[in-house]
Subunit: 155 residues, 2 copies
DNA sequence: CGCTAGCGTACCCTTTACGTCAACTTGGGA
DNA sequence: TCCCAAGTTGACGTAAAGGGTACGCTAGCG
């Protein structure tokens, strides 16, 4: 069996476009552990570690936090068949998907609202400054420095 | 001219469903200032302050950060005609709208991707654990504890 | 006068995913 | 052998928008 080749931290940095701080941070969290540094002071990483970092990045891309990822890894250590972990992952994915759908609904409403307001402010229907003493909206005789947005009528 | 009526901080709390800590925090940031406390130790707020808080909440709802709001207020202090501020506001709104549109595009892609993955993981096509020695994806003879997600094929 | 809810200041804490020193130590090429 | 880029530990900082607590003072009503 040939010697497993190993990477130095800087190589990971270049591979993934992350910083060495990140790698060490992941180690702190127990997400990865470097190979035995036997004697050397410098960390060495196996192919396995590389894959693990890729995995972390993928899960991160799908919206899992590092602590969720950590929990999954923890699970994996106890459950070598993978069934429980897969179940947990499915749950997480569904959960993130639900959240995303909810976010999208909110975002749509927000976009609609905001585009209406953009139009208003460009037509000067929405004042930031009270226009002066005769301002009908304000309840003060003198100038005021805030004025409410025109409320978007329910369509 | 009748005496301007004033509110105590607790009243604002009840009005807006915010905490007194928040009100004082806004004061710290210079977003609002209470009326002159002349003599009293307790803050008093005018109608003006009330409107201002409403204004802050509206701008916050449209995605402006407190520091952006602060910058606008700062502008308003210098520019009493309102033209510059309105311009600034329009720019901010457009900017937030653009960001929102971009976020929505990303979110849509994310949702599509993730729903595909949900399906995969439920069909057990996406392993968290390597299934064992015969695993075709892994490059090691022994078990490994991470395996890459199946990559979603470009449709 | 006395009570107590309300208000005051001042300080640290939260979350997430690292960034940024500082001050050394080490590894590997010339 | 020498040198310097690369690596090390450890501590502290950052953003955002307040939350939480401690502990003391006050306003205003009966």
């Amino acid at each position: 069996m040939e010697k497993e080749n190993s990477y130095r931290i800087g190589e990971l940095v270049r591979m993934f476009g992350i910083t060495s701080r990140t790698v060490r941070f992941y180690e702190e969290l127990g997400l990865i552990e470097s190979m035995d540094r036997d004697g050397s002071e410098h960390r060495r990483y196996s192919e396995r570690n590389v894959i693990r970092i890729k995995r972390i990045q993928q899960l991160k891309d799908y919206g899992l936090t590092l602590s969720e990822i950590s929990a999954l890894f923890e699970m994996a250590r106890a459950d070598r068949t993978g069934a429980t972990v897969r179940e947990g992952l499915a749950v997480k994915y569904r959960q993130k998907l639900d959240e995303a759908l909810k976010r999208r609904a909110q975002l749509d409403a927000y976009i609609e609202d905001l585009s209406w307001h953009v139009e208003q402010v460009e037509r000067a229907n929405d004042f930031f400054e009270c226009p002066g003493a005769s301002c009908a909206t304000c309840r003060w005789a003198e100038r005021c420095d805030v004025r409410l947005l025109v409320k978007r009528p329910a369509s």
